[in-house]
């Protein structure tokens, strides 16, 4: 008989720049080793996942990460007085710091388990530390520098060749071809995501992504490389295909071994025409396209739950190449009383 776990999932904002919550839930629903009851955790009343009643059994609003860990813990204490959450999937970069801090407390006091990287793993792969990270682990990373003001942008550009990539500390990246463009991008990104902003060397090539899981003991649980086939104006993949790339899998395996990475991750890599791989970013969570890994034969989401619950874990050795995902937009019709309930009571 299979166990039935109550699993809480954040990132249910299935919008044009979607969070990974809905694809994580879809993978959970397809798990063969356990059944699930899904608790959606939302930050805003218009997150589409709240109203996907075929995927989500109950939804609770949670405080924004900026409210701090105490507020978050108190909200979980309340939710746990009603539900019996066994496992939690945090799916946003911006909330991970709080959840990593709360990991032990949530487990010991409320019985909620997670599989998340350590604070050291989380911080060291941060965009602002990535160049150093690459040096420490023998992986090529484009040269980058941090800036805190527009004046500093001009000063730093003296030592860089155009084009460059201007990046926010959590999200967003824009290519700049001139000094003026670099400052414009800096102003826009710093206003939205705060400081510092990163100026990174531009590497021409093909962007490849890997969705994978590390077991925390240096072993790769699974990894599926994907190439984006269609990109939205926000730079998000709207379609992609699994590819066969042994070198990229080896690079992933090496990184997981070196860093003892714990939990899901996404690697963003540029492959140059002469077959060199540059690590552009490591996202410390599942990406929004992670359901493709399930479609390609690796239910990595299921493996993460099994790691957290102390069950036997499947270490995937293969996946199907040539599997595509094609995203679509879908209008749901929602009754006002549902919107009212989540807005007023913070649960639905």
């Amino acid at each position: 008989m299979k166990p039935c776990y109550t699993i809480a999932v954040t990132g249910i904002n299935a919008i044009d720049s979607p969070g990974p919550g809905v694809p994580v839930i879809r993978s959970l629903k397809e798990a063969s080793s356990f059944d699930v009851r899904i608790i959606g955790l939302s930050y805003e009343a218009l997150e589409p996942g709240i109203y996907m009643r075929n995927l989500v059994d109950k939804v609770y609003q949670v405080p924004y990460p900026s409210a701090g860990t105490d507020m978050m813990f108190e909200r979980f204490r309340y939710i746990q007085s009603i539900e019996k959450i066994d496992f939690l999937f945090p799916n946003f970069d911006a909330e991970l710091f709080n959840f990593i801090k709360l990991e032990q407390k949530l487990r010991d006091e409320l019985g909620v388990r997670m599989v998340v990287p350590s604070l050291q793993q989380f911080e060291s792969r941060n965009k602002v530390n990535l160049f150093e990270y690459g040096k420490n682990h023998g992986v090529k990373v484009p040269a980058a520098t941090l800036v805190h003001s527009a004046r500093e942008v001009s000063a730093k550009l003296v030592d860089m060749n155009f084009p460059i990539v201007v990046k926010g500390k959590f999200y967003d990246a824009k290519i700049a071809y001139t000094n003026e463009q670099s400052i414009q991008h800096f102003d826009k990104i710093s206003a939205q995501w705060g400081l510092p902003v990163l100026l990174q060397e531009f590497i021409p090539g093909t962007e490849l992504n890997v969705c994978g899981v590390g077991d925390g003991a240096g072993k790769l649980v699974g990894a599926v490389p994907m190439r984006k086939l269609y990109i939205t104006d926000k730079g998000k993949a709207w379609a992609g295909v699994t590819i066969s790339d042994k070198k990229l899998i080896e690079l992933t395996r090496k990184l997981v071994k070196e860093t003892q990475w714990n939990g899901p991750f996404e690697l963003e890599v540029m492959k140059t025409v002469d077959d060199k791989y540059y690590l552009i970013e490591i996202n410390p969570r599942f990406p929004a396209w992670c359901y493709l890994t399930t479609g390609a034969g690796q239910n990595q989401v299921e493996s993460v739950v099994n790691i957290g619950m102390g069950n036997d874990v499947t270490y995937f050795r293969k996946y199907e190449t040539g599997k595509l995902f094609i995203r679509y937009a879908y209008d749901m019709i929602v009754n006002m009383n549902e919107f009212e309930q989540i807005s007023i009571n913070g649960e639905l």
């Binding site: 190439r227 086939l229 992609g240 699994t242 590819i243 066969s244 190449t321 040539g322």
Partner: protein, 79 residues
């Protein structure tokens, strides 16, 4: 010229390169030639086979084969 081993070619002329994720469509003659290439035929064997099946001059096949090979090489589908 040899095609990369892992290139998938369907009977309808759809090509998929699993290492890049790129896909292509080939017309029926190109599909036939690609299948010959996958079977390890030399250029001479391909030319003879096509001449046996179609009423076509050797110089036309040679030119078409050269064009196809350039295209395959350009798309990095050869080894």
């Amino acid at each position: 010229m040899k095609l990369k081993k892992d290139i998938a070619i369907s009977d309808s002329g759809f090509l998929f390169n699993p290492s890049s994720g790129d896909s292509y469509t080939a017309n029926p003659i190109a599909t036939e030639i690609l299948k010959y290439m996958q079977s390890g035929f030399s250029n001479e064997q391909i030319i003879v086979s096509i001449m046996e099946s179609y009423d076509v001059e050797r110089s036309t096949i040679e030119k078409d084969l050269f064009d196809l090979e350039s295209m395959l090489s350009n798309y990095k589908l050869t080894r």
